[in-house]
Symmetry: C2
Subunit: 194 residues, 2 copies
Amino acid sequence: MAGRPKIFDENVVVEKATSVFLDKCYDATSADELLAAMGIGKGSFYLAFQGGKQELYQRSLQQFSDRFSGKLETAIANAPNGIDVIKSYFYAIAEGNKATKYRGCYLGNALVQLSEKDNSTREIAARLLGRLQEIFTAAVRKAQAAGQLKTTADPELIGLHLCNFWNGIHVTKRMGKSPKALRALVDLNLQILS
Amino acid sequence: MAGRPKIFDENVVVEKATSVFLDKCYDATSADELLAAMGIGKGSFYLAFQGGKQELYQRSLQQFSDRFSGKLETAIANAPNGIDVIKSYFYAIAEGNKATKYRGCYLGNALVQLSEKDNSTREIAARLLGRLQEIFTAAVRKAQAAGQLKTTADPELIGLHLCNFWNGIHVTKRMGKSPKALRALVDLNLQILS
DNA sequence: CAAATTTTGTACTAATTAGTACAGAATAAA
DNA sequence: TTTATTCTGTACTAATTAGTACAAAATTTG
């Protein structure tokens, strides 16, 4: 392949863009701001991302989801009890830290922040969040089969509940609730996994 | 008081602005768009809302919360069983309709959509959502005292759970879930109110 | 009616926006 | 080395942005 070589790696710059999108909503993030964070110029950007800001955002959502889902799936697959892995994720949200306190879930944010006009991107975010739900469902089904769970409730429903609780706590966190209150909330909502 | 009379009612135009803010996030809503919806010119607007768009948004959040909280409190106070009123609100969300399917909760949206730079507005949204939590908590406490609830769990915790479930389902709804799935989710999360 | 007061609409500014055009730079292949 | 190819950085456009300035309009009070 002839031609001047790219001075950047697309995956790397998408990741840099993600950290900008995590701080503000899509519409409020300017292309200039993204370019500065990505460290490339307009020429390079609009050549690599011909769909402009929208394409960048969609790829950012996809990359984030791939990495996050992959990490969670691996952790569940390698643990003796996948349900414990899921529990630890929720308790980690309850603890939080200053940097992530007001960030929420990248995919959930997208779902809430996207205006009605950009249906295609919102559908992508919805589908990617659906993957999280499926991971929860699969882990519950596996644990039920292994006799690691008391509940006989539909694993689909429990998966939906966990995904919904995930969505909720990432919003409720932003109300400034203490880790103690959030821990009690997690306790209550994960009782079904005992 | 002498002077040319106002051609508009501030509460009315704030309400009109609210319906614009409901469709898109704060940052993405232009002042021009708001003015068009409000039906007033720049001169009038910047005189009545000297804090500009931010003041308008904060007053919009406050007005929305006042009206919504008032309606909910009245409904609970006038019902034989306040818990049934709360349940009906959640089942109504599960049913939804095309117009509100992707709208979510105005206050929750604010919490998620506001960038980190506008802390003061986010704190207002957090405080107003806290009112919802308090209404839930008070209703639970009252029902417990009246022997209408089996659970002896801390009413504060149940109130927090309901507020969190409220936050969650307004996001989960946007994943395109069917009313049937959402109803099952409500069933599961309101079991504690049986 | 005249003066004081308040509101309105228009015209304007200065900054920022997303995206395009294109000359030139850097490479691989012939 | 020449040619074909791909990428980069700069300069540009045309639209939109939030907010200001201010003259004229509409009212109350004296």
